[in-house]
Symmetry: C2
Subunit: 314 residues, 2 copies
Amino acid sequence: MPVMPSSDSLPDPLPVLARAVAGCSNHNSVGETAARETLEQVMADALSKSGSNRSAVRAVCLAVSGVNHPTDQKRILAWLREMFPSHVKLYVQNDAVAALASGTMGKLHGCVLIAGTGTIAYGFTEDGREARAAGAGPVLGDWGSGYGIAAQALTAVVRAHDGRGPHTMLKSAILQTLDLSSADELIGWTYADPSWARIAALVPVVVSCAEAGDEVANKILKEAVQELALSVKAVVQRLGLCGEDGKNPFPLVMVGGVLEANQRWDIGREVMDFISKEYPGALAIRPKVEPAVGAALLAWNEFMKEYLQEAYRR
Amino acid sequence: MPVMPSSDSLPDPLPVLARAVAGCSNHNSVGETAARETLEQVMADALSKSGSNRSAVRAVCLAVSGVNHPTDQKRILAWLREMFPSHVKLYVQNDAVAALASGTMGKLHGCVLIAGTGTIAYGFTEDGREARAAGAGPVLGDWGSGYGIAAQALTAVVRAHDGRGPHTMLKSAILQTLDLSSADELIGWTYADPSWARIAALVPVVVSCAEAGDEVANKILKEAVQELALSVKAVVQRLGLCGEDGKNPFPLVMVGGVLEANQRWDIGREVMDFISKEYPGALAIRPKVEPAVGAALLAWNEFMKEYLQEAYRR
């Protein structure tokens, strides 16, 4: 939750006046009330740290996970409206939109691919049409995500152990990492805390095994690359971002731990190779600022757009 | 938790003196203390309903989910031992073992395949070796389970919706069943209550779509059949249940809602067809008594075995 100055020029580096951090604000995970309290608190913290208060705010952009449907957006906008005076511009978006903006300095054009614990692809055309793919959580098959990769690896270990699948060095590598002595103990381990991030933390083990030549691990990563590329393609196709000849340039912002691993087996580079073959105009961007700054830039850009339109009318 | 009489002949139908039902006793799901309290309570209820008490008990078999490792067995045996006098015979098994016994009238020989919300294959040789496959929960890839089938169907809907997968009639069928107006709303629906049984309840919708000719639904069911058959094969192979020529007869007990669906698309029959091709000696058994009676039969058989051995020694 960075607070940007209400200045009409943006110096480099960006002047972030304050920064505050809070817990989960996904209403799907923690419920409506807790999500709202978390967001109110982190906004109050950011303002207080910047030595300011609500009356100085001109625009707010909340980019939060769990905004999957217009009703989510409306509900959050409604209580945001209760908090701020009516002249304040308010924007509510899926957190992927802020990640896109963090790579395009606030411009909503192109596609973002996020692959951390979860995964989503989200895109905008210059005339404001939007589309997304994946981002629906593990039950609904976000297979290229960190959780997806690690869950496939754990599954491969169990299958190798009980005779349903081929031998894989993932077994000894994962058991050693988790300090377990038998694959049977994985069942208790997964039940003990089903948090997706805890499972996704095993991705580096999968990458190491793939680099060491393990076929099962390599197959899991190759499938993840295809899944991630497929999400991007679905968004690019639906929005026509690549133009009719498939060669138009567009930004492709890449965010998240799975894509940033810079080892020999580089998932992000493989995904980009896959996409470049189909869309030579895809311009890979690794953002230099965090997604929260993307949200602030988004608020700034939208505010300036409306401000200039109003000024022009007068 | 049926209570069987301590008689040396077993009339038909089996004389179940009392029956009591309680909630979840899987320590992985509800924790050690709650699991123990549930089991103590249901045993006390069954005894009280039969007009008896602990002093009349000769043998106890607890067949509970969550017994995946010898340490699970030891822990439960330890507190069971605290409850009953030392002459009482105690057995603790995975719940799949009771399901096997429910089909073989207490004899531990052959393989059981359970496919309800979850899935597991479990087998015993006549000389007491045992093996299992799957049964590790959804994170660890129990893909032929009711949960697995339904989760694949939900994933197919999301993929069709966001352009990553082919069109499927699963979309309208599932949205209608869940009273949702858009596939986006599935995300909130899955988060709202991640209970596996709630998701597995969608299996009949998948079967209906497959019967109506939907290719995506058919593919999901065919893959489930292969997964379930693979679990059985893994157990049969490891135990050598089929003999060296692959043709030895052995019981294959089939239990659970996924296998019992007796529609045109009969998953249980398809699994059996698959297995019969490889192991012509597999003898399909659909148990006539519930798994809890299987556990009681198991206690009875084990008790009689030890009793006769002791009598023989004297």
